[in-house]
Symmetry: C2
């Protein structure tokens, strides 16, 4: 596994890179569709690869651990083989899900005891068990086990939580370094910067993470409800500290505009449920703005979903037909919208790469941020 910066933008901190994994090359900046439980919802892996051209997808440790469970994933030879996806996979550590369980979990310095949301059964996640689980899932990129603080979060809690995340990271690294790659291809551990919205904590955390010298670094605990400018401020601060020669991953972000701004701040990797989740509710992201396909406005619009879209669905189906499918609650509606949105997100980062390489990113980004946030 290696990462090479290929271009740097002249006006912003944006850069392009090539991230080489044993499951193929990832050009960065990259958007990673979310496949929580082993499926990016409402799309075939084949379409995700051949039509959307997603280069890497996410899985979620908490969900996959509970269902289908590690036994069958291991028996299959890892998640790639279990789901039929031969490109890279990144697994979220499950920290976010475990903390979301609220009264169904108990946290100690050792780890977290929690009850399954499915059947109430008891389980323990520690930095060590999570590393073992992510090894067994077979992730190319394994996220460290952290606590993702909510927003708002008082300073005292944010600090205490950050320090615990750092201690857990040391245990993650220990376990990671003393266990082999599970299935013959390289697996990499990615540590996560926390610190909520506090500059000094973010700085402290970024410095701690940078010092670990892992092959990539992530920023967590943002896009959890804080104002957008605070998210950008924290991202900018952390990017100024994280090593420039390693990929930077801004977790759970975001809207098309968030992604474009994140790239300008030096982020290389993004993931978000927005293109898939919003698709299922009829929301389409396009280069010209956002469309709510349930809107009466599209009822008689027989023009293609997106004349310039890169997916086959964009030219094959009309806006009026897609609206009809949503109104009639046909499953094909979410299927088409999902495929369109993912193809759009992939197109967006692909264009970003072109503009970074051409030295026109800043100007293009400013124009696009206005366009993509319009309501059509």
């Amino acid at each position: 596994m290696s990462f090479q910066i290929t271009h740097k933008d002249k006006d912003t901190k944006a850069r392009t890179g090539t991230l080489i994994t044993d499951h193929g090359v990832i050009e960065t900046p990259v958007f990673m569709p979310v496949g929580t439980a082993g499926s990016v919802k409402a799309i075939h892996q084949k379409e995700l690869k051949d039509d959307v051209n997603a280069r890497i997808i996410l899985g979620n440790t908490y969900h996959l651990y509970l269902r289908p469970g590690l036994e069958i994933i291991e028996k299959a030879g890892g998640l790639h083989k279990f789901i039929g996806w031969d490109r890279p996979i990144l697994t979220d550590s499950g920290g976010y899900q475990v903390y979301s369980l609220a009264d169904r979990r108990k946290m100690t310095e050792n780890g977290v005891v929690f009850q399954s949301h499915i059947d109430g059964s008891k389980h323990v996640f520690t930095p060590e068990t999570v590393m073992d689980i992510e090894r067994t899932i077979g992730a190319d990129f394994m996220m460290a086990f952290d606590e993702c603080t909510p927003f708002p979060c008082d300073y005292k809690y944010a600090k205490k939580s950050m320090l615990m995340t750092h201690k857990w990271l040391e245990r993650c690294i220990d376990r990671f370094k003393t266990t082999p790659d599970k299935y013959g291809y390289q697996q990499k551990l990615i540590p996560i910067v926390q610190g909520s919205v506090y500059r000094d904590l973010r700085q402290q955390s970024a410095e701690f993470i940078a010092k670990q010298n892992m092959e990539g670094n992530a920023i967590g605990g943002l896009s959890v409800g804080e104002p957008t400018d605070v998210m950008y401020e924290m991202t900018e601060l952390v990017c100024s500290i994280l090593p420039a020669d390693k990929p930077r991953y801004l977790m759970g972000v975001g809207t098309p505009a968030n992604i474009l701004e994140g790239i300008a701040l030096g982020i290389d990797m993004f993931d978000c449920v927005m293109p898939t989740r919003n698709a299922r509710n009829g929301m389409l992201f396009t280069k010209n703005g956002i469309m709510n396909m349930r809107n009466e406005k599209w009822k008689n619009d027989l023009s293609p979903i997106d004349e310039e879209g890169s997916s086959f669905v964009d030219s094959h189906y009309s806006k009026a037909y897609l609206r009809h499918l949503f109104v009639a609650k046909e499953i094909l509606g979410p299927m088409i919208a999902t495929q369109h949105n993912l193809a759009f997100y992939v197109w967006l980062v692909t264009e970003a790469r072109k503009h970074i390489a051409a030295g026109t990113y800043g100007e293009w980004k400013n124009k696009m941020v206005k366009q993509v946030t319009k309501r059509l």
Copy 2:
């Protein structure tokens, strides 16, 4: 449009044929996936064509008339263009749906006044309006407006209903013959034999229908709850009367075994929601029997869904993964199952055609009927 018988089986009444339409050639016997409201649920038109290789699909007049409505379908240039499907379409007349409305409809000799199940609005279907609607939808095959009697149905009602269906047919034919093809390609009217489970009524109805000399004929009012042997008995009787040189369509049938038996009785066309509806509940039809994918049995079975299946999903995904998708309620589960089941139904009639041509249909059919009805 033309129909040519190409082979006749030596042991049964099975035959193969070529049905030529302006939207392409249909080899018979054929299975027609049901696309009620302009979408065969949970599958892209592209997959339906390229992977499943469905030669013709169904639309439903009642559903399409209410939603999206005729205005937009006409503006699009017909249903083919509206939904992005360039092969033939057959439209059910909506009679079955209207009668299912029970207390929301009032029937007279003139036609039916009914309330929309969507918004309660009042509408009138007569033989004339239904012909106009099917013309506007742009069906290659337009089903006559009939009454589909329920099971059980007393003799008196069945007879009265059948006579009304016959009168309505004459009005359908009048309207059909005095209106032009709507979009420049040929549209054909298919009359429907009724008569419930009464031999004398079925005979009388089949003779009446045969006499109209239309380019294809259908058998309705079966597969509505009557015993299977009664369905076969009625089908056999009606097939003996309907002209042998015209395609025969057994409406709403059925299981793989029903289709194989129907072919042996001389049926050329079938439609049924079973492969798609049951798919969404996790039921897979295969040449070796029926699988309930929610069953614990498949939990650790990493073998392909169907080793010999003709769809890409059959070899790309495992039984254990498909089971996981159903248990986790992932949309991809119904998508995979739908694609598999439709591909299996299309495979089944394709194999039937080969065996009819080879003169081995009877023997093969008897073997297959046993196989496909097994519970795996």
